[in-house]
Amino acid sequence: MTALLTLQSVSKRFRGLVAVDAVSFAVPEGEIFAVIGPNGAGKTTLFNLIAGAMVPDEGSIVFAGQPIGGLSADAVCRRGLARTFQIVRPFPALSVEDNVTIGALQRHRDVGGARTLAHKLLEQLELFDKRDRRAATLTLPDRKRLEVARALATGPRLLLLDEVMAGLRATETDRMVAILRALNRDSGLTILLIEHVMRAVMALASHVLVLDHGVTIAAGAPETVVRDPAVVKSYLGAEAV
């Protein structure tokens, strides 16, 4: 089991506030790894550091044997690390098909080839019937899946999902869980997700890391982590056990 992504004591400060404090972990290749924690725990900041939207103040981020800390977001994506956004950001005025085609153009120089790949992914994400709709007209669950399709189209080895279940109803969550599990199983895609929906975390993740105030308070297998007293106290609440 080799690590695809390794963080070594990564820190990020915003003036006085330490948003991410010496966080270290390794995401093994082919696994689904979840980062959980209460609001303001530094999860999205951690994500932005990995995805190149922010530069870490300290520590190293190594992806597939190469340091990527401080690379720009587009360079990180071209290395094989694609992300979605907590607040979805599809290209609103473009069609669903064009949204995914743009992602696929990272892998295909010709538009025709990219479009073929986009069709395949739209089938997989159950959006093919809506391919001619403008992205802005989609419902939230559809837009979330569209973002996943666009990220997948860039051909990532690691998919970063920022609260992709947030705002989804239970049936939609199950649908997304099924899609992600199939992706992981069929193509060996490694997934790193930030998630509040414990139902999804428990169903998907093989590893869980819990952040609170920027600090790792627990890490390990999901069943162990949810019984950790520190996690229960700071995040899950006593009734969750």
Partner: protein, 334 residues
């Protein structure tokens, strides 16, 4: 090649386009000299609007200083012609890199230092103003006294030197407008075109999708500037005189962009339709005022203002997208 040209164009759209082109082709034998001049001006604005649209409509970068590329193109070609006897087509070959380089400098400064949106637009105005003031003191091109191209009575049309009657100029600008239309059609459906649209829609999401936004925004500015340079060369040889105050003025930049805004930013047909609506109706207004013996200076500008107001309030996408849907040639999406 032909199949590619047809991709994304409905049968009906193609038929209408051919009909329009045919109408343009026979127009010089039907209309009088005055209307021919109006048509030339319309096509000039359609061309320049199309060039501006590459930057704004495709890549979402608002330039309010496109007069700088018109002015540079005009001055480069006119100076080469007057001082060194170099013809306009060779002059164009010099104007293109000059304008692209100028666009690259403005783009680099803006994008490198993350000047975006309204601030980017202001920067483009500032550069056009620098150019205006700079050329006012540029003695090699006669500064404020202006440049004049020799006009002599020609017995025949010299296409190579762009000296001739309005009919020749008409066909030159018609061909140029057609070429840039086809160019934009291909650009829009190319890899670069898709990356531009992504940047226009959401730059951060575009970066997260692996697009080097700096690089593709630079391409947009440079291509737009390079294409615009031809409008400048045409301007110089059609009007035969150049003054910095005129060619680089902010109102020149605004005139160019009104057409595409009214026609529909980001559409291929918007700039052409917008040029027609604006220049066409403004000329109708002028003729009507002359006929009724009314003399109101600035009426055209007021008219432009009213058009802009109506379109912004009533048709925020511009005139073309709803019209295209009505004609049944619009895009098939909801």
């Amino acid at each position: 090649m032909i199949a590619q040209l047809e991709s994304g164009v409905s049968r009906r759209g193609a038929a209408l386009l051919l009909l329009l082109l045919a109408a343009f082709a026979v127009a010089p034998w039907i209309v009088n000299d005055y209307l021919l001049t109006v048509l030339i001006i319309i096509l000039y604005f359609a061309f320049a609007g199309q060039a501006w649209n590459i930057m704004m409509g495709f890549a979402g970068q608002l330039s309010l200083g496109h007069a700088i590329y018109i002015g540079l193109g005009a001055y480069v070609a006119a100076t080469l012609f007057i001082r060194f006897g170099v013809g306009p087509w060779l002059g164009l070959l010099a104007a293109i890199p000059v304008c692209a380089a100028c666009g690259a400098v403005i783009g680099y400064l803006a994008f490198r230092f993350r000047v975006a949106g309204v601030y980017f637009a202001i920067l483009t105005i500032a550069f056009a103003e620098f150019a205006r003031i700079g050329f006012d003191h540029f003695d090699l091109v006669n500064a404020t006294s202006g440049l004049f191209l020799p006009v002599s009575q020609h017995t025949h049309n010299d296409l190579w030197q762009l000296r001739g009657d309005p009919r020749m100029f008409y066909f030159v600008i018609l061909a140029a407008t057609a070429v840039v239309f086809v160019l934009c059609h291909f650009l829009r459906r190319s890899r670069v075109g898709y990356f531009w649209l992504a940047i226009r829609e959401d730059e951060q999401a575009a970066r997260a999708t692996g697009i080097d936004t700096f690089r593709y925004k630079m391409y947009a500015v440079m291509v737009s500037a390079a294409v615009t340079s031809f409008a400048g060369v045409f301007y110089a040889f059609f009007y035969n005189n150049l003054f910095p105050e005129q060619v680089f003025s902010v109102s020149r930049s605004i005139e160019i962009i009104l057409g595409p805004i009214i026609g529909g930013v980001g559409t291929l047909f918007g700039p052409i339709l917008g040029a027609f609506v604006l220049t066409g109706l403004a000329e109708v207004l002028n003729s009507a005022m002359t006929a009724f013996g009314v003399d109101l200076p600035g009426a055209t500008q007021v008219f432009y203002g009213i058009c802009l107001l109506l379109v912004v309030a009533g048709l925020p996408e511009g005139v073309w997208p709803p019209l295209a849907r009505r004609l049944g040639v619009g895009p098939r999406r909801t």
